[in-house]
């Protein structure tokens, strides 16, 4: 993909085509653990987006001066700083969300999405594109985990964002709030996404106009399998 990437395509790329959680299957730990409630998903998504945009920006600025020997520690320090800043801000201004997200805020540091985007994207592109990519990826991540959170909350607790939705329809299945429910809902959503995305991909394969066949392209490299 040597040619100049259009900023808009970079932004939208993170939402559907390369949705970090449902297509590239990155950042699984928080998206399974925190999504017992849709509100948590939203909070976690927003926090992760802030960290993602911030770290993408800084990393793309310092990518030229950081020698390869200390590349990983330097990038990790940048990401950790942004995460701690989010953690402090949340603890100061949104205490009850902070109580719910608990241990998972510091774990944004090792959230694979952020480090993957830093390595894959921020290291090769300028600050503007990296920020856009961070926004796109963050929005995609937020969308995905809020969707997972909503499904799990409706099925598991009969409420959505706290509003009782299905209390008298059926007895909520607690299983969906427990870990197995997380895997299950995630699995079905990824399957749904494969169905949607594949329909578009099929058209991609027929008109072979696109510069297909290069093994380096991200679609072939880590299509379904992580």
């Amino acid at each position: 993909m040597a040619e100049r990437k259009k900023p808009i395509s970079v932004l939208l790329n993170g939402l559907i085509k390369e949705n970090p959680t449902l297509r590239l299957l990155l950042g699984m730990c928080p998206s399974l653990a925190v999504t017992t409630m849709a509100k948590n998903g939203l909070g976690m998504g927003a926090a992760a987006t802030f960290v993602l945009v911030g770290s993408n920006l800084v990393i793309s600025l310092i990518r030229k001066i950081v020698p390869d020997k200390v590349r990983i520690p330097a990038y990790i320090t940048v990401i950790a700083t942004f995460t701690t800043i989010v953690h402090l801000l949340l603890a100061a201004f949104l205490p009850e969300l902070n109580k719910q997200l608990g241990i998972y805020i510091p774990l944004i540091v090792v959230n694979c999405i952020i480090f993957a985007r830093a390595e894959m994207f921020a290291q090769k592109n300028g600050p503007l594109l990296s920020v856009l990519d961070g926004l796109g990826m963050g929005a995609g991540f937020t969308l995905a985990i809020t969707a997972i959170g909503s499904v799990r909350e409706i099925l598991g607790a009969g409420t959505w964002m706290g509003i009782p939705v299905t209390v008298n329809l059926f007895e909520p299945a607690i299983m969906f709030i427990l870990p197995p429910g997380g895997f299950l809902v995630m699995g079905f959503l990824v399957a749904l996404f494969n169905k949607l995305a594949d329909k578009k991909d099929k058209s991609l394969e027929c008109e072979t106009g696109c510069e297909a066949g290069c093994p380096g392209c991200s679609k072939a490299a880590n299509g379904g399998e992580a």
Binding site: K69, P73, T77, A212, P215, A220, G223
Partner: protein, 267 residues
């Protein structure tokens, strides 16, 4: 003041680790010829093993140490070969880059079925059951074993027949080895016309099993100006070297099983 202590603590740690890491990478440096890592960068990096080495690292080492020609990597196409050749200052030489092609057109509409197969979606499994469900025992079973093996998503299975997308195929040969019916052949990329059939039965039997199979009528052999087509026990075979892609055999063939698949990528 309360900012100084944390900054001192963490950057002190950073300094210690910086020194430690760079010192360690110096002391424990494994002598590597930097040309190898340069060539490794240029190779596509799919580690598919089509070049016969254990992935791109193996090939990079072989190119530098054993003088293997870069075109040994079929996956990268002309761009990679030229890049490495210029880097090493050797001439590109002839490119024997191949592309895989399924020599069969027997999808569900054309071929007659012996039985209705509902087992595991795997050609080997179907093939174990009396040679697969197609009446023509040479034909493509169409259950996608080749698709599972293809790293470059170059194979799609439609209507019971595997089809290889020439632009995506890198000629790594994984599918050729995988296919239980061995009907996928590696042909030179520039060869357009091929006989899309693998059936060695007599014409009358072939016609009964499949609408588009080669019935060995030998019309193509007679009509070909450069005698590129020979009969290999009831199956017409086009010799890529001699074939000039004139296309007369395709018109002459009553069963329409000779087709033209020129690959745009190498124009």
């Amino acid at each position: 003041m309360s900012i100084l202590i944390p900054v001192a603590v963490v950057s002190g740690l950073g300094l210690v680790f910086g020194l430690g890491l760079s010192y360690a990478s110096k002391v424990f440096e494994v002598k590597v010829d930097e040309r190898i890592s340069a060539v490794r960068e240029m190779l596509p990096g799919a580690n598919c093993g089509a070049c016969g080495y254990s992935g791109c690292d193996g090939l990079a080492e072989a190119i530098i140490n054993e003088g293997v020609h870069p075109s040994r990597c079929p996956v990268g196409g002309i761009a990679v070969v030229n890049a490495i050749a210029d880097y090493l200052g050797i001439d590109e030489g002839s490119i024997d880059v191949n592309v895989a092609r399924v020599l069969c057109q027997g999808n569900c509409d054309n071929v007659v079925f012996k039985y209705n197969y509902l087992g595991i979606e795997d050609c080997h499994a179907a093939n174990a059951l009396a040679g697969g469900m197609d009446a023509c025992s040479y034909g493509c079973v169409g259950l996608g074993s080749c698709k599972k093996v293809c790293q470059f998503d170059a194979i799609i299975v439609e209507n019971g027949l595997a089809r290889i997308i020439p632009e995506k195929c890198t000629g790594c040969g994984n599918c050729v080895a995988e296919c239980p019916k061995s009907i996928i052949k590696l042909v030179p990329v520039l060869s357009g016309f091929t006989v899309k059939c693998n059936n060695h039965d007599k014409g009358v039997i072939a016609r009964k099993n499949c609408k588009v199979g080669c019935i060995a009528c030998q019309r193509c052999v007679k009509v070909c100006p450069s005698e590129a087509i020979t009969m290999d026990n009831n199956l017409a075979v086009i010799d890529p070297e001699k074939c000039t892609n004139c296309g007369q055999c395709a018109e002459a063939c009553p069963q329409k099983c000779i087709t033209n698949t020129i690959v745009k990528r190498f124009k």
